[in-house]
C-alpha cells in the first residue's frame, strides 16, 4: 500500500516547507539587501572620490593658470620682451637677462614648473629656462597657434604630452604677454609642468582600495586620450587610444559628455570595474575614478559565501530535524497500522510497543487494551462455544438414549396388550376389551410423542445446511405420499411453481410435511377437499402459504397455535400431539423467517411463512 501518501512523507514535506522556505527567503533577502547597501555605499564613495579629485584638479588648474597669468603681468618680462621684439642692440643681453630672470626669479616660485619659455609673435623662442631651445621655432606649438594665430587673448592649457625639448612629458600652460605701452600681444609665456604633478593628484587613491585608479582623459579624434599616467600600463599612456565607441571607453565618454554618476563596465584592461565619472569643465577633461569590481564587492562576496554557508548549514540542520521529527511521529503510527493489520488477519495476541508520553502513546495504550480485551472476549467466546458444543453432544446422547430406553417398555405394553387381545379374547368381556384397546392407544400415542419430541430437539440442535431447496417439489412429493395413504379420499392439490430458495432441505421437508399433514388431517371430514401451496410477493419478500378448506380454527386462539403441545381440537376430533406446528415454527425461525396463520371456523386455514 505504498502508493498512498504516507504520513511520514507528508510530515517531512510539511516540516521542510515550514522551515526551509523561510530560511531560504530570509537568507536571500538579507543577502540582497546587504548587497544593495554595499553597492550604494561604494557608489557614494566613488562619486565622492571622483568629485574630490575633480575639485582638486580644478583647483590645481586654477593655480597654474593663475601663476601663468601672474607671470604674464610681470613688468620685467614685458619690458625685456619688448626690447627683444624691437630687435635693438641690447637684444642678446635682453635674452640672457630674461632667461636668468625666468630661471632665478620665476621658476623658484613654483617648484613644479619644469621650464618657462617665452615666445615672440613669430613663434620663436626668445627666452627660456632651458638655454638650448633659445632661437627654436615653436610656431607650430599649439599654444602659439591658439593664442597668437587665432588671436585669442586667453590662457591656454595644453594637455600633458611628451615634449622633445624637455625630453619629458609635460603639461603646458600658456598666456599672452601684452605690451605695457600698446597693449598688443608681444609674445606668449609658456609654463611647462611635469606630468608628475597630475599623476601626484591622481595617484592618491585613498578610499579606493588596492585596485583603485583615477583616470583623466579627453576626446581627441574620436578616441580617448589619456592624460595621466595609467597605473597598469604606464608606458602606454600616450600611445593607448581607445575608440569612443569601445565598451571600455564608456565611463570616460559619459564623463566627457558632462554627465556624472557611476557605472559598472570594463576598463582598458578589459576587467570589470565600478567607475565614477565626472567632467572637469574648466579644461574639458573627463575624470573617472574606478575600482575593480571584484575588490569593491569583495565584502559582498564574503557576505555571499557566509550567507550560503549559514543557509546551507541551517538547511541541513532543519532537514535533519524535519526527518527525525517525521520519522519519530510516523513510526509509531506505522507500527499501529501494522499491528491493526496483523490483528485483523487473525493474530489477536499482538500488542504494540510504543513508549511515548503524548497522544500517540495514549492511542497505543488504548489499542493494546482493546486487543487484550478482544483476545479475552474471543477466548471467552471460544470457551462458551466449546461448552455449548459439549452440551449439545450431551443433549443428543441423552435424547437418543431416552428415546430408545423409553420405547422398549412401550413395545412391551403394546405387544402384550395385543397378545391379550388376540390370545385371550374369549376371557375378556367388552369392557375388558375396551380397556385393552385403550392401553394400546395410549402406548401408541406415547410413541408418537417421543418421536415428535425427538424431532423437535433434533431440529433445534442440528447444523443448518445452506442449499437450494425447491419447495414446490417437496409439496408435490408429500402430496403424492398423502394420497397413497388414503387413496379413496378426493383431494385437489394446487401447487404453484416457484424458484428455488435457500435453506436446509431436510428441515424444510419436515416443515412442509407437517403443514401438509395438518392440511390433510383437518380436511379429513370433508368428502372433497382442496389443499393449495402458493407464493405471493409482499413488500419485496416472497411469502409462501399452504391453505386448506378444512375445519379451520378460531382466530382468537391464533397465538396459541405454535406453542408446543397446544391443541385447538380435542383428541377425539383429530388426533395429534400438538407438537407439529411448534416444530414448523422452530424450523422457519432458524431460516430467519416468520410464520403466521389465518383461519375461520368451517372455512379452512391458511399458513403463511417467509424465509
Amino acid at each position: 500500500m505504498k502508493t498512498f501518501w504516507s504520513i511520514k512523507r507528508k510530515l517531512l514535506i510539511f516540516a521542510l516547507c515550514i522551515s526551509l522556505i523561510p530560511i531560504l527567503v530570509i537568507t536571500i533577502l538579507f543577502y540582497l539587501s546587504a548587497r544593495g547597501s554595499v553597492e550604494k555605499q561604494i557608489n557614494q564613495k566613488m562619486i565622492a572620490v571622483a568629485e574630490s579629485k575633480a575639485l582638486h584638479i580644478e583647483a590645481f588648474l586654477k593655480t597654474i593658470r593663475g601663476r601663468t597669468i601672474d607671470f604674464c603681468s610681470d613688468g620685467y618680462i614685458r619690458d625685456k620682451l619688448d626690447i627683444i621684439n624691437q630687435k635693438v642692440l641690447l637684444e642678446q643681453d635682453a635674452v640672457v637677462d630674461l632667461s636668468s630672470h625666468l630661471k632665478n626669479n620665476k621658476m623658484p616660485l613654483d617648484p613644479d614648473i619644469a621650464s618657462i619659455t617665452v615666445l615672440n609673435t613669430t613663434g620663436t623662442v626668445v627666452a627660456s629656462t632651458i638655454k638650448s631651445i633659445i632661437g627654436n621655432d615653436f610656431s607650430n606649438h599649439e599654444e602659439f597657434v591658439h593664442i597668437v594665430s587665432k588671436n585669442k587673448k586667453e590662457v591656454f592649457t595644453h594637455r600633458p604630452h611628451f615634449q622633445q625639448y624637455l625630453n619629458h612629458s609635460t603639461m603646458e600652460v600658456a598666456a599672452p604677454v601684452t605690451s605695457m605701452e600698446s597693449g598688443q600681444t608681444i609674445g606668449i609665456i609658456i609654463n611647462a609642468y611635469n606630468q608628475e604633478i597630475i599623476n601626484d593628484i591622481t595617484s592618491n587613491r585613498e578610499g579606493m582600495g588596492n585596485s583603485g585608479e583615477i583616470v583623466i582623459g579627453l576626446k581627441e579624434d574620436g578616441t580617448i586620450q589619456f592624460i595621466n599616467t595609467l597605473k597598469y600600463t604606464p608606458g602606454a599612456t600616450t600611445t593607448l587610444k581607445i575608440p569612443l565607441n569601445d565598451e571600455a571607453a564608456e565611463p570616460m565618454r559619459l564623463a566627457l559628455e558632462g554627465k556624472y554618476g557611476t557605472i559598472i563596465g570594463h576598463d582598458y584592461r578589459d576587467i570589470n570595474v565600478i567607475a565614477a565619472y565626472r567632467y572637469i569643465p574648466s579644461i574639458g577633461w573627463g575624470l573617472v575614478a574606478k575600482m575593480d569590481k571584484a575588490e569593491a564587492f569583495g565584502p559582498l562576496t564574503v557576505l555571499r559565501n557566509i550567507a550560503i554557508v549559514l543557509g546551507g548549514v541551517s538547511s541541513i540542520a532543519v532537514i535533519l530535524v524535519g526527518i527525525s521529527f517525521s520519522i519519530s511521529t510516523s513510526r509509531p503510527i506505522n507500527r499501529l497500522t501494522a499491528a491493526a493489520k496483523k490483528i485483523s488477519n487473525g493474530n489477536y495476541d499482538y500488542s504494540v510497543e510504543i513508549d511515548r508520553h503524548d497522544e500517540i502513546g495514549a492511542l497505543a495504550v488504548s489499542f493494546n487494551n482493546m486487543t487484550s480485551k478482544l483476545t479475552h472476549e474471543i477466548n471467552e467466546h471460544e470457551k462458551a462455544e466449546a461448552r455449548l458444543t459439549g452440551l449439545n453432544k450431551e443433549l443428543e446422547a441423552f435424547c437418543y438414549s431416552v428415546s430408545h430406553d423409553l420405547r422398549a417398555p412401550l413395545r412391551g405394553i403394546e405387544g402384550f396388550s395385543r397378545a391379550l387381545e388376540e390370545d385371550y379374547a374369549d376371557k375378556f368381556d367388552l369392557q375388558g376389551k375396551d380397556y385393552l384397546r385403550r392401553i394400546c392407544t395410549a402406548s401408541h400415542k406415547m410413541d408418537n410423542l417421543i418421536t415428535d419430541l425427538l424431532d423437535l430437539s433434533r431440529i433445534t440442535r442440528s447444523k443448518m445446511k445452506h442449499e437450494k431447496v425447491d419447495l414446490s417439489a417437496l409439496v408435490k412429493s408429500k402430496a403424492l405420499e398423502l394420497q397413497e395413504t388414503e387413496p379413496e379420499r378426493q383431494v385437489e392439490f394446487v401447487i404453484a411453481e416457484g424458484d428455488c430458495t435457500d435453506g436446509d432441505t431436510k428441515l424444510l421437508k419436515i416443515a412442509i410435511d407437517n403443514l401438509m399433514d395438518n392440511a390433510w388431517k383437518f380436511t379429513g371430514k370433508h368428502s372433497q377437499a382442496r389443499i393449495e401451496f402458493g407464493i405471493s410477493l409482499q413488500d419485496g419478500e416472497s411469502v409462501y402459504f399452504i391453505s386448506d378448506d378444512g375445519v379451520g380454527f378460531d382466530m382468537t386462539y391464533a397465538d396459541k397455535l405454535f406453542g408446543a403441545f397446544q391443541r385447538l381440537h380435542s383428541i377425539t376430533e383429530f388426533e395429534g400431539t400438538g407438537i407439529g406446528l411448534a416444530t414448523v415454527n422452530r424450523i422457519i425461525q432458524r431460516h430467519g423467517g416468520n410464520i403466521w396463520a389465518e383461519g375461520e371456523i368451517g372455512q379452512g386455514a391458511k399458513f403463511c411463512f417467509t424465509l
Binding site: 430408545h404 422398549a408 412391551g412 405387544g415 402384550f416 397378545a419 402406548s443
Partner: protein, 157 residues
C-alpha cells in the same frame, strides 16, 4: 415337525435379544406365523458367541448343529451386536449363516456398519405389533421357505 428319515436335523433359529419382553413377543410372533423351528434364545453377546462356537456354557453343544438363521439385536450387554456379527463372519464355521439384524435403532451409522460387517438384512423393530407381526411373517416366508440355505444349515424343509 417334518423330520428327515436319517437324522432329525434340527433347524434352529438363534434369537439374540436381551429384553425378555421382546423375546416373548418375537417368539409369539414367530409361532403365530407357523414357524415351528426350534428357537434358541441367548440374552447377551457373550452367550451368543459361546453358543455359536460351542464354548463355555455351551461346550456340550454339537458343532454340526449350526442355526439356519440368526435374529440379532444390536443393543446387547457384554458384547454388542456389531461385535457378534463381526466374530460370526470371521469364523469359517459360522460365516455363511444368514443374519437378520432386528433392532430399534434407526441411526444410519448402525445400518451402514451392519451391512459392511456382513449382515444379510436390517429390520427396524416397530412398536406396533401388527407391523412387527408382518415383519416376522415376511422373514419366515423369505428366509425359511424361499431362500436357499447354505449347505451347513441343511436342505430345505
Amino acid at each position: 415337525m417334518p423330520t428327515d428319515t436319517k437324522e432329525a436335523k434340527k433347524r434352529i433359529i438363534l434369537l439374540v435379544e436381551d429384553n425378555p419382553d421382546d423375546v416373548e413377543l418375537t417368539i409369539r410372533g414367530l409361532k403365530k406365523n407357523n414357524v415351528v423351528n426350534e428357537i434358541a434364545v441367548v440374552g447377551d453377546g457373550a452367550e451368543a458367541l459361546e453358543y455359536l462356537f460351542c464354548t463355555g456354557a455351551y461346550a456340550q453343544r454339537d458343532v454340526e448343529e449350526m442355526p439356519v438363521l440368526v435374529l440379532l439385536d444390536l443393543k446387547l450387554p457384554k458384547v454388542d451386536g456389531h461385535e457378534v456379527l463381526k466374530r460370526l463372519r470371521d469364523d469359517d464355521r459360522t460365516k455363511m449363516i444368514p443374519v437378520v439384524v432386528l433392532t430399534t435403532s434407526d441411526e444410519e451409522q448402525d445400518l451402514v456398519q451392519c451391512y459392511s460387517n456382513g449382515a444379510n438384512s436390517y429390520i427396524r423393530k416397530p412398536v406396533g405389533f401388527d407391523s412387527f407381526s408382518k415383519a416376522i411373517q415376511q422373514l419366515k416366508v423369505y428366509w425359511l421357505l424361499l431362500n436357499e440355505a447354505p449347505p451347513n444349515g441343511g436342505s430345505t424343509g
